[in-house]
Amino acid sequence: MNFPSGLKYTKEHEWIKVEGDTATIGITDFAQKELGDIVYMDVNSLGKNLKQDEIFGTVEAVKTVSDLFIPASGEIIEFNNKLNSTPELVNNDPYGEGWIIKIKLSNSSEIENLMSVDTYTQLIGA
């Protein structure tokens, strides 16, 4: 499994990549593997302001369903529309083409409290 070092991670298995005051969010390689084939991304939070750890959507795999938690507070400014027709991108390329949302950060100090790659891989025993 692959866990890029430039990202921050959550215990709910999301990753976040910060670039200035915006950030890209997805789920980790571990998460996609545990879920199995992803068949539907149900994200209705575009344009909303959410607080850290609030639910921004739901991922539906063949056998299971799981909520998605936002790693940091902010406004959802983009949803990866490719996931409407090809949700399997999240399985195939979780950190690249399978990104889920972009947000405008409202409190970038929250990022400090998220997990580094070392802490995250320790958590999942990878």
Binding site: G36, D37, V39, Y40, D42, T58, E60, A61, V62, K63, V65
Partner: protein, 364 residues
């Protein structure tokens, strides 16, 4: 409770299986991808290790009488070498389990029951054995491999002299298979994809499994987990005990009227007969979502006004249709194909239509 390991546990782990608890057993749920495994069975063939299933032998002069008493279907019409789908009614209107009845001879039968119900069924059948039939629980000594898919017969033919293409659905033969004796080759399955179920004594199980994998290689055989088994059976509208039928649902409500025969008496048959005459108030139906979403067990089923009228008992995406499908109990008035119902998914009511099952058309 500690999970029971099936004999070929280590082999499945080596094949990449993710193992999970199911019905008290540690079982392979997925090897690669649920969707790939599903389509591999629909289009080619796959092998499931379903050794968690239970097998009881019933022998002696009272065997048929006992089976007639505890099951709803009429086993007296079974010929040797034939199999019948049936269910065990309880005395409160519900179902103890659904099962297969194999007839070997007039005084020898085998019942194949669900893994999670082995203890319950055993006690139930034993307590109703006023016919002096001899019962033997062979579950712990028997492995079961379901080789399912349109290419299963072709792939397995090199392992047996039994003419597989001539075996009618729901018949079986006993003999040499891959060189090992007393293997039961059964033209049955839980996928609607065609194929065979192979019962083999634990001592030969590993060799038989390997022989099937080798014979299936050129046909694209893959090991298949319980995840795909569930989506395959759901596409056919087959009931899963514990989800779609249970101790509280009657066979008539659960759509098992076709295996409930009043030409004979069985446990609680008077009550169930009355039910048939007066009609049942709810029925198990299949439905297809008209909007994007995936129904799951226990999601509420609603009418157009938003009133809860039932619950989803099984649900998934159909890999073949790429649509949300499911089963659940609805009031009889809304059970006709074409009826409009709503599935509450995360507080949104998504429109669904009651449809006839199977959801997909296969050759079986």
């Amino acid at each position: 409770m500690e999970l029971i390991r099936i004999p070929l546990h280590d082999k499945h782990v080596a094949l990449g299986a993710k193992m999970v608890g199911f019905g008290g057993f540690e079982m392979p749920v997925r090897y690669s991808s649920d969707l790939e495994e599903h389509m591999c069975v629909r289009n080619n063939l796959g092998i499931f290790d379903v050794s968690h299933m239970g097998e009881f032998q019933i022998t002696g002069p009272g065997a048929l009488e006992l089976i007639q008493h505890v099951t709803t279907n009429d086993a007296s019409v079974l010929q040797s070498g034939k199999i019948q789908y049936s269910c065990l009614p309880n005395d409160k209107g519900g179902i103890v389990d659904d099962l297969l009845v194999y007839k070997f001879s007039d005084e020898k039968y085998m019942l194949v029951v669900n893994a999670s119900n082995i203890q319950k069924d055993w006690s139930w059948i034993k307590s109703n054995n006023k016919f002096n039939a001899h019962l033997e629980d062979c579950s712990g000594q028997t492995c079961l491999f379901a080789v399912q898919g349109p290419l299963a017969g072709q792939a397995l033919q090199s392992l047996t002299s039994v003419k597989l293409s001539e075996m009618p659905y729901y018949s079986f033969a006993v003999g040499l298979f891959a060189g090992f004796p007393n293997v039961i080759i059964s033209a049955t399955g839980y996928t609607g994809a065609g194929g065979f179920e192979i019962y083999v004594s634990n001592e030969y199980a590993a060799q038989v499994f390997d022989a099937i994998m080798n014979a299936g290689k050129e046909f694209g055989i893959k090991p298949i987990g319980l995840g795909a088994r569930d989506t395959l059976r759901l596409e056919m509208g087959y009931c899963l005990y514990g989800n779609d039928i249970d101790d509280t649902t009657s066979p008539l409500e659960g759509g098992l009227g076709w295996i409930t025969k009043f030409s004979k008496n069985f446990i609680n048959s008077d009550e169930i007969k009355k039910q048939k005459e007066t009609g049942v108030s709810k029925k198990l139906v299949g439905f297809q979502l008209q909007e994007r979403g995936i129904p799951r067990a226990h999601y509420p089923i609603q009418d157009a006004l938003g009133n809860k009228i039932g619950e989803v008992t099984s649900g998934s995406i159909s890999p073949v249709l790429n649509k949300g499908i499911g089963m659940g109990y609805v009031p009889t008035a809304l059970s006709k194909p074409g009826s409009e119902i709503y599935i509450n998914i995360r507080d949104k009511a998504l429109k669904a239509t009651v449809v006839k099952t199977p959801f997909v058309t296969t050759g079986v």
